[in-house]
Subunit: 139 residues, 2 copies
């Protein structure tokens, strides 16, 4: 079976509020939008933000709180980590953890999107990122 | 800013139980494992399964239930959707929604991993997947 994830879908309450965070904060451009979903073409897969009632109905899994789950966006330097975190907070994000150096090296902080989904913004000099944004595990 | 997600991390309670689902069910091979985390190299990014207490401590976001969130694994046919769902359920997954045809076309069902994270297994003939597993949005 292909070692592949096709879509990451986050349930959201308000499309405009979510778009302010993803388009305004991260600076990402959507590839499709309608009144209930926005899709973004990412590095090898598709990222979707979908009204959470629709997602719960489709997956038949009710929303009851916050689950253990985080997405990471890696950047090229420690300065860039701080710049991106500040931008995200300016666009409706909530700071979960100010950036600092983890035991395994690099530099990272966490921001929750307007719906509470956790994003790690990290500089990890060991993991290569190519021009198309493809990220590889390395030690 | 690069339109890029580097890591998807799911919090889990038991590494062996989680590995049975991801390695046994999906058939994926990890690129790194220790006593608290397993990493899988995916299509342009890294997928991690990390003990949920460690993830909550790192992100400073406590776990309180199930959030609105799903991952999708697309396959090449309707038959394959049913085969993969059966395999995942055999390896510790819980069927959330038996596969059927959504209004927008294709075929899909949902399975929760042993920690309750929702996976959509889908056949979407409109979205191309290349030999390296890179998925593109299309209409």
């Amino acid at each position: 079976m292909q070692q592949q994830i096709s879509i990451i879908t986050l349930g959201i309450a308000d499309l405009a509020r979510s778009k302010r965070f993803y388009a305004g904060g991260f600076g990402w451009t959507s590839v499709f939008e309608n009144e209930e979903i926005a899709f973004y073409q990412m590095n090898g897969f598709v990222f979707g933000t979908w009204l959470k009632d629709k997602l719960a109905e489709d997956s038949r899994q009710p929303v009851s709180g916050t689950s253990a789950f985080a997405l990471a966006h890696n950047v090229a330097s420690q300065t860039e980590v701080e710049r991106v975190i500040a931008l995200l907070v300016e666009h409706g994000g909530t700071l979960l953890r100010p950036a600092d150096a983890p035991p395994h090296g690099g530099f990272r902080g966490y921001v929750a999107d307007p719906d509470g989904h956790a994003w790690e913004i990290a500089w990890n000099p060991a993991w290569p990122i190519d021009a198309d944004g493809h990220v590889r595990f390395a030690m």
